[in-house]
């Protein structure tokens, strides 16, 4: 089984420095792209590989790049890595950055070349101190080796790279809110259109991609689109960094072919449920995805199959709900997070999320009324897609609406017994 993204990552040693990374073929893809391919050919290859964005939305990466105007009249363009990783239950980008920072940087440089950006930023979350140190060191090495800076590989292409560390807000992971944060503003999302590909950072064409997305780029350049598609077992191309947190025997991260089943992920890689704990459900890709339950264990974890099962692959890092954990408390914890992290711009989100949170808290404390369930159902509609500028509120409703569907009797028990049965 091929594991291109993690083949040179080991938790037993520090990540490869530039020289060691080059010894295992590092920066060869950069050389190939910059010296033998035009920017348009790079974009076309990435588009053909069917690489979909690994930040959660799952949009074709090459197609996103193809929306950047490539006329000579727009010289300033930006490339940004979204390394804000604040989706609760998600910890994959940390591993990729700490484990092999050069792979990530090489992917960024090739991507910047494809859209002819001359300035790039890594938007890193504040808490990732170790990743920040390792990235700064790797960037220095890349500058010294001539992979960053002026006239890269002698082809006349220039690229600056800066590390920006955030100051903590979930909404910064939203593409347009991230741009506002980088401009020194409150991180509220922007109206689309215009899309960032046309008018992004400081009003210039901008591409924002997730860390894992960038890490795939050197391998696609080196091995081609068909190779990338053949890595998969499902309907989407490539491998995926999957993860599990919660009560399994071995929580962790694994690079597996796209389309591994939920059952295999939990039972084989996660070692099965921890002793004394039963599986009740899971959020397949972070806090803002719908629950999948026992009947979905054979669902393939790719974008299309998970969507068909009523959820989203999201970030691919799964959070398990076990039978010792109260589903109402679990969802209350999620809605507390979303209410706190709402940027406050759109009314349904600013007002609806605290209302949702308080309603869940009263149910959890045994103070709920039967009509509270109708109230929660109402919120899942009013905060759903189409009512807000960004996906925060609709994302917040995904675990709630599916919990009301699959664990409704647990909500009802709280109300009829006037207490949380788990406490």
């Amino acid at each position: 089984m091929e594991t291109p993204l993690t083949q040179h990552i080991s938790s037993d040693r520090p990540p490869y420095n530039l020289r060691d990374y080059e010894k295992v073929g590092g920066y060869q893809a950069l050389r190939k792209a910059l010296t033998t391919m035009t920017p348009a050919e790079v974009t076309k290859l990435v588009q053909e590989s069917d690489l979909k964005g690994r930040g959660g939305a799952g949009f074709n990466t090459g197609m996103k790049w193809s929306f950047v105007p490539m006329t000579d009249g727009t010289p300033i363009k930006y490339l940004i890595a979204n390394a804000d990783e604040m989706e609760p239950g998600t910890f994959k980008d940390r591993m990729l950055m700490e484990g092999n920072p050069h792979q990530f940087i090489e992917g960024m440089i090739i991507s910047a070349y494809a859209i002819q950006a001359n300035i790039s930023y890594i938007f890193l979350r504040w808490a990732y101190k170790k990743a920040g140190r390792l990235l700064l060191h790797a960037m220095e090495e890349a500058y010294a080796a001539g992979y960053l800076g002026k006239n890269i590989l002698g082809i006349g292409y220039n690229l600056e790279m800066h590390l920006h560390t955030g100051v903590g807000r979930y909404i910064c992971g939203e593409e347009t809110a991230l741009l506002n944060a980088l401009e020194g503003k409150r991180a509220t999302p922007r109206t689309k259109p215009p899309f960032p590909q046309v008018s992004g950072l400081f009003g210039k064409p901008t591409i924002v991609n997730n860390v894992e997305t960038f890490c795939n780029i050197p391998h696609i350049i080196q091995n081609g689109a068909q190779w990338f598609k053949d890595l998969s077992k499902g309907s989407d191309a490539g491998t995926k960094i999957y993860g599990i947190s919660g009560r399994v025997k071995k929580p962790g991260l694994w690079e597996l072919p796209m389309g591994v089943t939920m059952r295999e992920l939990i039972e084989v890689h996660g070692g099965g449920m921890a002793n004394g704990y039963e599986f009740r459900g899971a959020l397949p890709g972070g806090a803002s995805t719908d629950f999948l339950v026992k009947e979905h264990l054979d669902v393939k974890l790719d974008f299309k199959s998970v969507a068909a099962a009523g959820s989203r692959l999201g970030t691919g890092t799964m959070i398990i709900l076990d039978d010792h954990t109260c589903p109402v408390g679990f969802v209350h914890n999620l809605e507390h997070f979303f209410a706190q992290e709402s940027c406050g711009w759109c009314t349904p989100c600013r007002e609806g999320l605290p209302w949702t949170e308080k309603t869940l808290l009263s149910i959890e404390r045994g103070e709920g009324r039967p009509e509270d369930l109708d109230l929660l159902d109402m919120h899942t509609k009013y905060l759903g897609p189409g009512n807000t500028f960004c996906a925060l509120a609709p994302g917040a409703m995904e675990p709630l609406q599916s919990a009301l569907k699959y664990f409704r009797e647990d909500f009802e028990m709280h109300i009829t017994q006037k207490k949380c049965p788990w406490r």
């Binding site: 609760p88 998600t90 940390r94 807000r169 020194g184 993860g243």
Partner: protein
């Protein structure tokens, strides 16, 4: 408490370095807040005014940015800041027991500082180390796979 009003030459030098990287001065305001907080521990009204003046922006606009972000402190904090993850994986793995133990040992709840100024305790959204939950950070150090036994030892390392 002595409140520094004007920016120090060192702070100005660091802020000017950031201004040089952006198209206009106020675009460097988050970096400037980080720099001043790094030197002073928090952002007082006086610090805010000095930064706003230096960046040629209104103090109201700067405060709207400063209060938006979780990790810009507009109130004084203790010598050590504990950020306890209260997000979902840590909830499932029992962060509430860790929180109860901190309250028991330090007699502070979320948002509070010990009277001796040794610790401030804050809740924090997911720290991105969910396979090793529960987790917390103290200053720049990450602690994971927390147990009640380990917590006392960790807290004893900070003065």
């Amino acid at each position: 408490m002595i409140i520094q009003e004007t920016l120090t030459p060192e702070e100005i030098e660091e802020i000017d370095h950031e201004i040089a990287l952006v198209p206009y001065r106020k675009a460097a305001c988050i970096e400037a807040l980080k720099i001043v907080q790094h030197h002073r521990g928090w952002i007082s009204d006086e610090s805010l005014q000095s930064i706003a003046d230096h960046l040629e922006m209104s103090v109201e606009e700067l405060d709207s940015v400063a209060t938006f972000y979780n990790l810009v402190f507009r109130k004084p904090v203790g010598r050590n800041v504990i950020l306890l993850c209260d997000s979902i994986s840590c909830y499932v793995m029992g962060y509430e027991k860790i929180y109860a133990q901190i309250r028991d040992r330090l007699h502070i709840s979320f948002g509070e500082t010990t009277p001796d100024g040794r610790f401030t305790l804050l809740p924090n959204a997911c720290l991105g180390t969910c396979d090793h939950a529960p987790a917390l950070m103290i200053n720049n150090e990450l602690y994971r796979d927390l147990t009640e036994d380990r917590l006392d030892e960790i807290l004893n390392g900070y003065h």
